[in-house]
């Protein structure tokens, strides 16, 4: 089930980060990623500092390093693109291991990979410490329009239904002597894929109507009694953003002082 974690990236735990209310984490994550993007690519040390901060967050959330690395792998095609840059970007050349590479190309490649990786790691911490449902509540509390939250929550629910229906269909096929390697098999798969759309929808539709039948009005009452964030928790979120901003600003300053 390779797709399983993609649909629920939550990694259960009891760390401080897990307990922080979702809205604080969302604000902190977004703020921090903006700081990372604003950090000039020429200030290499600043990225080291960012990496230390984000690595610290991973440790604080007790995320296994393997999990973070595996999720970082989404980036690989993009890294391949970055690796090509030093060869194709025009500009001053330097010798690296006997190959003439473009200097701006090297810098840009480093900047791309560094920013994307740090942004990604920050988001991984958010997604791994916050269950999907709490993320939605966080967004709702941050005044995201209700239609958007509703569509997002249905999307998450349906993703579960689609996976569930796919699982049931595969068990049903296997129990009737289905051999996934034959040519007939792929045809059967294609034919049943079409029904998956309507079937998933109709199951979800009935469940939704069953919810309405029990007085559902759009909010999940009592199910998520999550208390409003305490001031200290907002403070912690803010500290993180300020830290990121400090690194970005310092990076910019020191960068100006450095020879161009």
């Amino acid at each position: 089930m390779g797709g399983a974690h993609v649909l629920d990236p939550y990694h259960p735990g009891g760390s401080v980060l897990h307990r922080l209310p979702a809205q604080c984490k969302i604000v902190a994550t977004f703020g921090y990623v903006v700081c990372v993007v604003l950090t000039p690519i020429t200030a290499g040390w600043a990225f080291g500092a960012h990496l230390a901060v984000v690595g610290g967050l991973c440790a604080l959330a007790r995320l296994p390093p393997g999990l973070v690395l595996r999720r970082l792998a989404v980036e690989l095609p993009f890294v391949a693109f970055a690796v090509a840059l030093p060869f194709v970007v025009p500009g001053e050349r330097t010798e690296v291991l006997g190959v003439a590479l473009s200097r701006p190309g090297l810098e840009q490649a480093f900047g791309l990979v560094a920013r994307a990786t740090l942004g990604l790691m920050t988001v991984i911490v958010l997604a791994a410490t916050t269950p999907a449902r709490e993320l939605l509540v966080g967004l709702e509390r941050l005044r995201m329009p209700p239609v958007i939250v509703a569509v997002a929550s249905f999307m998450i629910r349906y993703a579960g239904i689609v996976i569930d229906q796919m699982g049931r269909m595969s068990v049903a096929r296997r129990s009737r002597a289905h051999e996934p390697r034959s040519l007939l098999a792929t045809r059967a798969l294609a034919a049943s894929l079409g029904t998956l759309f309507i079937r998933s929808y109709e199951r979800g539709e009935r469940v939704h109507l069953a919810m309405l039948a029990r007085g559902y009005t759009g909010a999940l009452p009592g199910a998520l009694p999550g208390p409003a964030p305490r001031r200290a928790q907002w403070g912690a979120a803010l500290c993180l953003v300020i830290l990121g901003a400090a690194i970005a600003v310092l990076g910019r300053r020191l960068d100006l002082g450095a020879p161009a």
């Binding site: 469940v207 919810m211 029990r214 007085g215 009452p221 009592g222 199910a223």
Partner: protein, 251 residues
């Protein structure tokens, strides 16, 4: 209490299922809905709290038409237990699922906990509050589905084959719980003895119309009538014996 008039309905793919259903049920009545597979029983039940919208005709509950503006009100009054429990259960735990309805009605705190406890006890799932609904056996899921609606204390209870997949003791216990409730009851079932036990009145829905409406005892005694609608008493069921018993006279 419930008034269905000239109700006709076709599914979106064009198949017409109901062809003018007329049905009136008084407050406090207990009515069984019988009929062959595919007769349209479920389709009719889904109209009673506005899950489906009539193609023609009307449905009223306590005088309130079941239409969009009144939907919330109607759904507070009419509790519906779906034929397929998977359609009914959606929360991460059984306890949360049962709490969902009353919480929507504004019940909170200790009251809510008490309602959940009571509803789960009524269906014999006392110890299942923290289990995940999709990891239950089918019979357990059916019980949970009934509990979710009982917890809402509706005025009208609509049950679509509540006894399917229940073990025999569970079936009897459910019957006892239902008999103890003071509400209007509408129950679809293929289990004729169960209908006899719970509902003094029965209707037979066949071919999308109400074909027969009468006292359950009389209906079950009429073998030709039953056969005309693919109904028959189960193997080993002695109508004389049990009808006499149900009317309080031993043979």
């Amino acid at each position: 209490m419930i008034e269905v008039e000239g109700l006709a309905f076709a599914y979106p793919d064009g198949r017409q299922v109901l062809f003018g259903v007329d049905l009136a049920i008084a407050r406090g009545e207990r009515v069984a809905v019988l009929g062959p597979n595919g007769a349209g029983k479920t389709t009719l039940m889904l109209h009673l709290n506005g899950i489906l919208t009539p193609g023609a005709g009307s449905v009223r509950v306590d005088g309130v038409p079941v239409t969009a503006p009144n939907m919330r009100d109607v759904r507070r009054r009419v509790g519906l237990v779906f034929q397929d429990p998977d359609d009914q259960l959606f929360m991460p735990t059984v306890g949360q699922d049962v709490a969902f309805g009353p919480a929507n009605l504004g019940v909170r705190g200790a009251d809510l906990a008490e309602r959940v406890r009571e509803a789960l006890a009524a269906v014999g799932l006392d110890e299942f509050a923290d289990r995940a609904p999709h990891h239950l056996s089918l019979g357990e899921r059916r019980r949970a589905a009934v509990a979710t609606v009982l917890a809402m204390r509706p005025d009208v209870l609509v049950l679509d084959e509540p006894s399917a997949n229940l073990d025999p003791a569970g079936r009897r216990e459910l019957a006892e719980v239902l008999t103890g409730l003071d509400l209007t009851l509408l129950m679809v079932t293929h289990d004729l003895p169960y209908a006899l036990q719970l509902c003094p009145r029965s209707v037979i829905l066949d071919g999308g119309v109400i074909a027969v409406d009468g006292a359950t005892v009389d209906l079950l005694a009429d073998e030709a009538l039953l056969a005309a609608h693919r109904l028959e008493l189960p193997f080993g069921f002695d109508p004389r014996y049990s009808i006499a018993k149900s009317t309080g006279l031993m043979p």
